[in-house]
Assembly symmetry: C2
């Protein structure tokens, strides 16, 4: 990308374009917005990124991103340490926390099994989960994985692997159905079929 | 935005969401992408931003962003210093430079006149342009402003203001017409009318 903007601005733009959701054009707009609002945006964002780079780690118990290790969720006595909600990424964990309805702990896999992308069980944070279950304190594992082929393959692989332990861990799955506010007309057939089967 | 991600990640996400093209959801995805790719993305981007914050300035002659002041365009003897291309923002200048067909200099206004947004002549980099014209070295001013009401109002305001000087500065406008590869069927009526009127 030769734009005559100078190597500093071009490097900034090239790196910004690697963020999800930003292409070359929106990366240029983002660069310009940063440079035009140096004090209000560029400098505070640089500081926030430096701070995150210095302080954010991966929790050694659940794998979530946090400035504490173990993270607050894994050490909070007010949270039910006998329940583990298994999620793909931190973004799913953040979504669960925004809802505020879950009071247990998490386990962040860091991906999903995928034959296509060559992601195997050893590429995920699975040993840690098995270890937590083996410790004997866990009573329920909630699979909060995406309703996709990869998500469901991963959930069933984990369920199979945990079944081999001779203990009373219950494995549950998030319910499938019509989203709140969802109109039937806009839903795919699979969701409607699921919702019908699980009617109550 | 309470997500239980911790104040560092939330501040990072909040600042990212101020970039053009990123909403709260894509800012969360960008945060996660940065934190998951610390060495490949977060740290290099932080450095590039720090570098830009430290070194990029506004050229005191033309107003463009550059690490040199005056910028290379304003001092390059290979560029025709008697021609000034007037643009709204650096992004338009970068687009012109990508094309590589213009060998003169620029003047970056930093905005457009807008009664709606309360942007008046004194909010733009106009005095510098007048001064450059007054110096007597300029032969042609090319208005490369957007083909919008604000762009055209600004262009005509500048043309009027420069007319008061009793010198032979020629003021030209970018041609309006059918974009290369553009099909008539997809063009608005105004563009077609312009292209017809300026046919050659």
């Amino acid at each position: 990308m030769v734009s005559g903007a100078g190597p500093e601005i071009e490097r900034l733009t090239a790196l910004l374009s690697k963020l999800p959701g930003l292409g070359p054009r929106s990366a240029r707009r983002a660069s310009l917005a940063l440079l035009k609002r140096k004090d209000q945006l560029l400098i505070p964002l640089t500081r926030a990124m430096q701070d995150a780079a210095d302080r954010v780690e991966t929790c050694r118990i659940c794998g979530r991103l946090s400035t504490q290790n173990p993270c607050p969720t894994c050490t909070d006595p007010a949270r039910d340490q006998t329940m583990i909600c298994v999620v793909e990424e931190d973004s799913a964990l953040w979504a669960m926390e925004r809802v505020g309805a879950f009071t247990g702990t998490y386990h962040v896999l860091g991906g999903l099994l995928s034959a296509l992308d060559g992601i195997r069980p050893e590429d995920l944070r699975l040993d840690g989960l098995v270890q937590r279950v083996r410790s004997g304190r866990v009573r329920e594992i909630i699979m909060a994985l995406p309703a996709t082929v990869e998500g469901q393959t991963t959930a069933h692989y984990i369920a199979d692997r945990l079944k081999s332990f001779d203990n009373q861990v219950e494995i549950t799955f998030l319910a499938r159905g019509v989203p709140v506010g969802g109109e039937l007309d806009w839903l795919d057939d699979n969701t409607i079929a699921h919702a019908l089967k699980s009617r109550r």
